[in-house]
């Protein structure tokens, strides 16, 4: 920035600046000295102006996304690169005008609006274009294929053997040979698909008939009746009272949690009245 243009900084001026820094701005001195001091301090521009802030935000956002993409998927964690960048920058941007009252609110709001707009544009483009999605979010990498570890893919994603084994153990596999495919997703998570003979059998494979319970809904939560859920189940208060009476529970207030599914399966946890 050209903020220091036209100013001369002799050693005495620097000395004066330091002295005034120590004594504080409220020092009583002649108008000329005050004015000189103000002009010296003026050279320290810390906050970018509107246009500068807007362009800098765009540049920094792109640079950070590129940097995170280069870091590989393992460092991303559960967020997509653009989401990670957004959460990293917005938190910092919002805190600046919150802490420094000398900065206009717009200085924080404009970059946040710019970031949100760019993210919105990128999210729409990633939905519309497969190529763009691959550039922005990357592609899933197959790190184990037919029980064999693909070292090239691991190196490309900065994934170490220890990390791979740890992820496999978390998924319940101790040996890569048990795994048909292990895929490192763009979110950084590892999806493990075992060989068919390593998968637990399903009820269908065992030809066992299993009753479908449906989605259980919370009917009583911490002594409070959630009537809309009771209605959604097609039941009323009389039915509920009867169910409670059958379980030796005199009132709703004495229920900590009551779940009911669509086939009238009931889970009841009584409230600990001593707490």
């Amino acid at each position: 920035m050209g903020s220091s243009q036209g100013y001369f900084f002799p050693p005495q001026a620097k000395l004066l600046e330091s002295a005034l820094d120590i004594l504080g701005d409220e020092i009583t001195c002649g108008p000329l000295v005050t004015s000189r001091f103000l002009s010296l301090s003026h050279s320290k521009k810390e906050v970018p102006a509107m246009f500068t802030g807007l362009i800098r935000t765009i540049i920094l956002y792109i640079v950070i996304i590129a940097g995170i993409r280069l870091m590989g998927k393992r460092q991303v964690g559960e967020l997509e690169p653009s989401e990670l960048v957004l959460s990293l920058i917005i938190a910092d941007l919002a805190s600046v005008p919150m802490q420094d009252y000398g900065i206009p609110l717009l200085t924080g709001l404009i970059p946040i609006l710019v970031l949100l707009s760019i993210t919105m544009i990128l999210s729409v483009l990633t939905v519309k274009s497969v190529k763009f999605r691959a550039v922005l979010c990357g592609k899933p990498s197959i790190v184990i294929r037919d029980g064999l570890v693909d070292q090239r893919e691991m190196a490309r994603n900065r994934l170490t053997v220890d990390e791979l084994l740890e992820e496999l153990r978390v998924k319940g596999y101790t040996d890569p040979a048990m795994v048909k495919y292990a895929i490192l997703e763009t979110s950084g998570q590892l999806s493990v698909l075992p060989y068919a003979n390593q998968k637990p059998p399903t009820a269908r494979q065992l030809k066992v008939s299993v009753e479908e319970g449906g989605l259980p809904l919370v009917v009583v939560s911490d002594g409070r009746l959630l009537e809309h859920n009771l209605k959604a189940l097609g039941r009323d208060r009389n039915w509920l009272d009867k169910q409670l009476a059958q379980r030796d529970c005199p009132s709703v207030e004495q229920v900590f949690l009551l779940l009911v599914d669509q086939s009238d399966g009931i889970y009841l946890a009584r409230k600990d009245m001593s707490i």
Binding site: G6, K45, F51, I121, V124
Partner: protein, 126 residues
């Protein structure tokens, strides 16, 4: 698609706003620096009252834009210029020729720097 156009519209609006802000601050400070330079010429011609009157009007003009300037620029920068105006007015009142010239030049430079900061230029971005 609607969300895309809303986001693009916000970005365009912000870009336009920042350019208009740059132009506005530039024209405001240019007008003020011209008047401050005119006041300085009058002071050199020993027309102190007229110089003070022009500087006072410029100061009032600055103060009239206080809300806008305070919401778009760093407060310490606008406060410095307000203080600069008061110093210049005091020196005009005392008819201190040399000190007034220096303080006035300083004030003009600060106004120019303020406008420069808001300009859409590569130097500012870098």
């Amino acid at each position: 698609m609607k969300r895309l156009w809303i986001a693009v519209a916000i970005l365009v609006l912000l870009l336009a706003g920042s350019l208009v802000n740059g132009y506005y601050v530039q024209s405001l400070t240019e007008r003020m620096t011209e008047r401050l330079e005119q006041a300085q010429d009058l002071a050199h011609q020993d027309q102190w009252d007229r110089a003070e009157q022009i500087t006072q009007q410029t100061y009032e003009d600055w103060e009239n834009h206080h809300f806008y300037l305070h919401t778009t620029l760093r407060h310490s920068d606008t406060d410095r210029i307000s203080t600069g105006f008061r110093s210049v007015l005091q020196l005009l009142d005392q008819e201190e020729d040399a000190q007034y010239a220096a303080a006035n030049a300083d004030l003009v430079a600060q106004l120019e720097l303020l406008a420069e900061m808001e300009q859409a230029s590569l130097v500012n971005v870098l």
